[in-house]
């Protein structure tokens, strides 16, 4: 029994008479502390998987558990609690609050779960932004913004970190920095990290790589010794 399990999960969207099967009968597991890459072309259903896993969307059928908790059975406010305490999100477009400083954006996370939260300043230093605490997002580069976004997710000290194309909007150099940060996090915080991407270059970094295609799982690769970030060819 893995840390994360998907059992026959389906997600259908009804548009008029058409039923779009975004995710069809998907089953897989992810172990605790793994660095997992979900890989697939656009439209394959990987974002749907992340949304379902993050409690942002509800499955049409099937069962999803995270750390023994059944996500598919949770109702609205319980889902909010789940997102609040168990999951950290990193978005492709960072989604920082434009009118809060970098530090305040991280403090935002502490606002919702004051008990488990780490010290925002320390986290900011960990992501290498100790010098830019009081800058507003618009004053930061893309890579810096993404690191703030990661800091915001980490601050909650979540067991699960979900990243949707975290390097999608970044150039290769900053992309590498962000990825190395994420792999560090996985190791030092002992968090399970799930990265959604269409970029096959990232695949070698994963302990587990799930290939998604046409709403289903194509294959799952396991890798005992993933490559270092510095070694991957971008």
């Amino acid at each position: 029994m893995g840390y994360i399990t998907f059992e026959d999960v389906c997600k259908y969207y009804q548009t008029g008479d058409n039923v779009v099967k975004a995710v069809d009968n998907v089953s897989f597991t992810i172990e605790k502390g793994e660095f997992c890459v979900v890989l697939g072309p656009s439209g394959a259903g990987k974002t749907t998987i992340l949304n379902l896993l993050g409690g942002m969307d509800k499955a049409t059928s099937g069962r999803i558990t995270v750390g023994g908790k059944e996500i598919t059975g949770l109702r609205g406010p319980q889902l909010t609690e789940y997102r609040r305490h168990d999951v950290g999100f990193v978005f492709q477009f960072y989604n920082l609050m434009p009118n809060l400083t970098a530090l305040e954006n991280v403090e935002l996370a502490r606002q919702v779960c004051p008990k488990d939260a780490l010290d925002p300043k320390t986290v900011m230093e960990q992501v290498g932004l100790g010098m830019r605490l009081n800058n507003f997002p618009a004053q930061l580069s893309g890579g810096e913004q993404q690191r703030v976004s990661i800091a915001r997710a980490l601050c909650k000290n979540p067991a699960l970190l979900l990243c949707d194309e975290p390097t999608g909007a970044l150039d290769s150099k900053t992309g590498v920095q962000v990825l190395s940060l994420l792999t560090d996090v996985c190791r030092t915080h002992n968090a399970t990290v799930v990265i959604i991407t269409h970029n096959a270059m990232i695949a070698p970094l994963g302990n587990r790589v799930i290939h998604v295609k046409n709403g289903g799982i194509e294959r799952v690769e396991l890798c005992e010794h993933p490559a270092n970030v510095e070694d991957i060819a971008w």
Binding site: M56, G76, T80, R83, R84, F89, V112, F136
Partner: protein, 768 residues
């Protein structure tokens, strides 16, 4: 083909943002509605009056003189500028109808070619008809008089019986009243031929002006030709002046409140439209990239403004023009006897307002569009860099800032970041509070004025009006059974000063009078000996101040009495000149002959005593007159009710619109909070708190302008004889504040329900 697709996009956009477009339509409609409604009423009243006066040849002068004989008639006719003249007799006489019913009898010496009655039923009078009479319509209805009925009137102990030939209305009797309020059961008018009642002396000449003659010059010439005559022109003739005042009131009303409401609505519409365009920049870029020409795109976005603003403005104008004037007209004719109702077409200013709505909307749209169009297509396709967060001034006050909770900091920064939107919401709330206070305050002031006048300015309980054969003041004051009795003498006089001439009431009071409080705010002030006390409004009208000299012309006396103004007194209801008895007697212009007795604390026998006196004409009770006066001001009230309605509607739409805009623009932020694990309740609380800050400051700052506006509007619609001070009650102010606040809060609560519906996935995925 291409345009077709764009048109489809426009339609879809409008359906998708239906509420936003609807609120623009509603705002445009509200803006033009108030104006069109009041403008329509004003023009309807004015056109009807003008036509009526013109077609029925309303007199320009009513000249009262000791004897309207051939010589005086010729003198008036000889004045250059006078078109026609006619001698008349006129008197208030008792009728033989059951109850205390009297009529104003006007007897024409010759044809009724001036103030021609408008026939409703029956026939007009033949010139030599000695038995026939014409009766006023409402009076006839109240007493069941029809052509052929008989009606007796009493004059000097003799009874004259007339046969009703026709039922009429007359242009000189728009207001039929010998008191404050028209009461057809007790008072009406009768038109007869002079030969039918020869005992009635001819004491009046009515005259009309040549087209284009200078009214004031002619008046001066008549006064010079007939020094002992009292000349009343249309501005002083009670009925005509009041009818004109009502029309004037609507005209004045049209130009303050509705224009303000219009301005606020326009402001909000413009803000909304410009934001809508800003939010469309990526689509604009896409269209550009697809190869649409700049003109096509511009026209497409112009329809964003054109369609809703034209639709709204037109709707407002049409509904305003074709519905409300008819309701307001009913309130107007409640007191006034109008002959018919003419409906002029929508006026040029009303059309201008309509067009202006569209022009303003299109203008702001073009302006916002230009700003975006200047950017390159590529720049448009990239999301607009989010507005920078900035340190705000408050943060520099560290000791204060550090005390704020995290959420408060966030809210304050948000408000500052979206300055324009926050400011517009603030202005919207402020204006709504202001307009609601104004409309409620106007109502209060009108009521307060009646109450204050009859309970504070006049501090007696009964007033008995006397006819010419009154005894001496001392005899009444000694004889009557009451706590206190004071006699006064009132005369209609002509006041002349450098600033103009007015026919007003001269009131002579006892030196030690206690029954009229003529000071500011109904305080007591003694009338000084040797100088004249002039009411405040009259000094404003004639541009007088203390120390100036005025000349008083008494009727039938060509020697004016000159006075220095020693005091300014305050009477909100009628304007005139006050003298004390000693001053009057030193003039040697006649005895102090009481025309009214004021009685405080009447004893048991008092009423019997009054009723036994032949010279007592009628008896007034100030306590009862409050209601009469309030009824007279009903026309105003109906307008105020309309204004309140508009203010409330405006408040609602503005709150909704600004709230919606805020929500639409920040969906992404709220979605992020949701993903971060904020509960719906927490997000709602944030939005609500932010809204409360704006609302509270808007409400608080709207109070003062609201109170000011009451004063401005009241003064704009008071008649020349009135001075209407604004006095909104605390209650109205509180109601206005609470209503606005609740509106805003309620609407936000409804809007924030949408937080639940925010699709986190959608909001976070796409940047736009």
């Amino acid at each position: 083909m291409v345009n077709n697709t764009l048109r489809k996009k426009l339609l879809r956009d409008m359906t998708r943002a239906a509420m936003q477009f609807l609120s623009i339509i509603a705002l445009c409609a509200l803006g033009t509605f108030a104006f069109a409604a009041l403008d329509g009423t004003a023009r309807m009243t004015r056109v009807t009056l003008t036509t009526y006066f013109e077609e029925n040849n309303l007199a320009d002068y009513w000249i009262t003189l000791p004897s309207a004989d051939r010589t005086s008639l010729d003198k008036v006719a000889a004045v250059p500028g006078v078109a026609t003249v006619r001698a008349r007799a006129s008197a208030d006489l008792e009728t033989t109808l059951p109850g205390d019913v009297s009529v104003s009898v006007t007897a024409y010496d010759g044809a009724m070619d001036i103030n021609i009655p408008l026939l409703r039923e029956g026939a007009l009078l033949e010139e030599n008809d000695r038995r026939g009479c014409l009766v006023e319509e409402r009076f006839a209805n109240a007493h069941g008089l029809v052509p052929g009925s008989r009606l007796g009137v009493k004059l000097g102990g003799q009874e004259y019986t007339f046969i009703v030939r026709g039922v009429v209305v007359s242009p000189e009797y728009i207001v039929v009243s010998n008191g404050i309020v028209a009461d057809p059961n007790a008072y009406g008018y009768l038109l007869i031929n002079a030969c039918a009642m020869e005992a009635l002396p001819l004491t009046q000449i009515v005259a009309t002006l040549d087209r284009g003659a200078d009214s004031d010059a002619v008046r001066t010439a008549i006064e010079a030709a007939l020094p002992d005559a009292l000349v009343v022109d249309r501005s002083s003739h009670q009925s005509t002046a009041r009818a004109n005042n009502d029309a004037q009131m609507f005209e004045n009303m049209t130009y303050i409140f509705p224009v303000l409401a219009y301005a606020i609505a326009a402001l909000i519409v413009m803000t909304t439209l410009s934001r809508m365009i800003d939010n469309q920049r990526m689509q604009m870029g896409t269209l550009k990239a697809l190869g649409f020409s700049a003109r096509q795109i511009r026209n497409h976005y112009l329809s964003y403004a054109l369609v809703p603003s034209a639709l709204g403005a037109l709707l407002g104008t049409l509904i305003g023009h074709y519905t409300l004037p008819y309701f307001l007209w009913d309130a107007l004719i409640g007191q006034n006897e109008m002959p018919y109702q003419l409906s002029p077409p929508i006026s040029v200013p009303a059309w201008c307002m309509t067009v202006l709505s569209v022009v303003l909307s299109m203008g702001i749209l073009l302006y916002s569009y230009r700003a975006s169009a200047r950017e390159t297509t590529a720049a448009l396709l990239r999301p607009k860099p989010p507005k920078d967060g900035k340190r705000i001034l408050l943060e520099r006050i560290t000791f204060l800032w550090s005390r704020f909770s995290f959420n408060t900091k966030m809210i304050v920064r948000n408000l500052m970041r979206n300055k324009l939107r926050s400011f517009m919401s603030f202005v919207g709330i402020l204006c709504c509070t202001m307009l609601i206070i104004t409309s409620l305050g106007l109502q209060d002031s009108v009521t307060a004025m009646s109450v204050n006048y009859y309970t504070k300015t006049l501090s007696y309980d009964v007033r008995a009006n006397l006819t010419g054969e009154a005894g001496t003041a001392e005899s009444y004051e000694r004889r009557l059974d009451a706590e206190a009795v004071e006699c006064i003498m009132e005369k209609s006089v002509s006041v002349r000063a450098d600033g103009g001439t007015r026919t007003v009431m001269l009131t002579v009071l006892r030196d030690d009078q206690q029954m009229q409080n003529l000071g500011k705010d109904e305080t007591f002030v003694a009338i000084e000996t040797g100088t004249a006390a002039v009411t405040y409004k009259l000094t404003k009208t004639l541009n007088l101040k203390i120390g100036d000299t005025i000349r008083l012309y008494l009727p039938g006396d060509d020697e004016p009495a000159e006075f220095v103004i020693g005091q300014i007194v305050h009477n909100n209801v009628s304007q005139g000149v006050y003298l004390n008895r000693t001053t009057w007697e030193s003039l040697r212009k006649g005895e102090f002959t009481p025309t009214a007795i004021q009685i405080r604390g009447p004893g048991e026998r008092c009423l019997t005593q009054l009723n036994a006196m032949d010279e007592v004409d009628d008896i007034d009770y100030p306590a009862e007159q409050i209601g009469d006066m309030t009824r007279m001001l009903e026309t105003l009230s109906s307008v105020f009710t309309l204004l309140t309605g508009i203010a409330l509607a405006l408040a609602f739409v503005i709150c909704y619109n600004m709230g919606l805009m805020n929500f639409v623009e920040r969906t992404r932020e709220y979605a992020t909070l949701k993903v971060l694990g904020y509960h719906q309740k927490e997000i709602r609380r944030l939005i609500l708190r932010e809204n409360r800050m704006v609302t509270l400051s808007g409400v608080l700052l709207g109070i003062w302008p609201g109170i000011m506006l009451v004063d401005v509007i009241l003064h704009s619609c008071e008649p020349e004889s009135g001075y209407y001070p604004g006095s909104p009650t605390l209650q109205s102010i509180v109601i206005a504040c609470v209503v606005t606040y609740c509106f805003s809060e309620l609407i936000q609560r409804l809007l924030t329900r949408k937080v639940q519906k925010i699709d986190m996935v959608e909001a976070l995925k796409s940047v736009e």
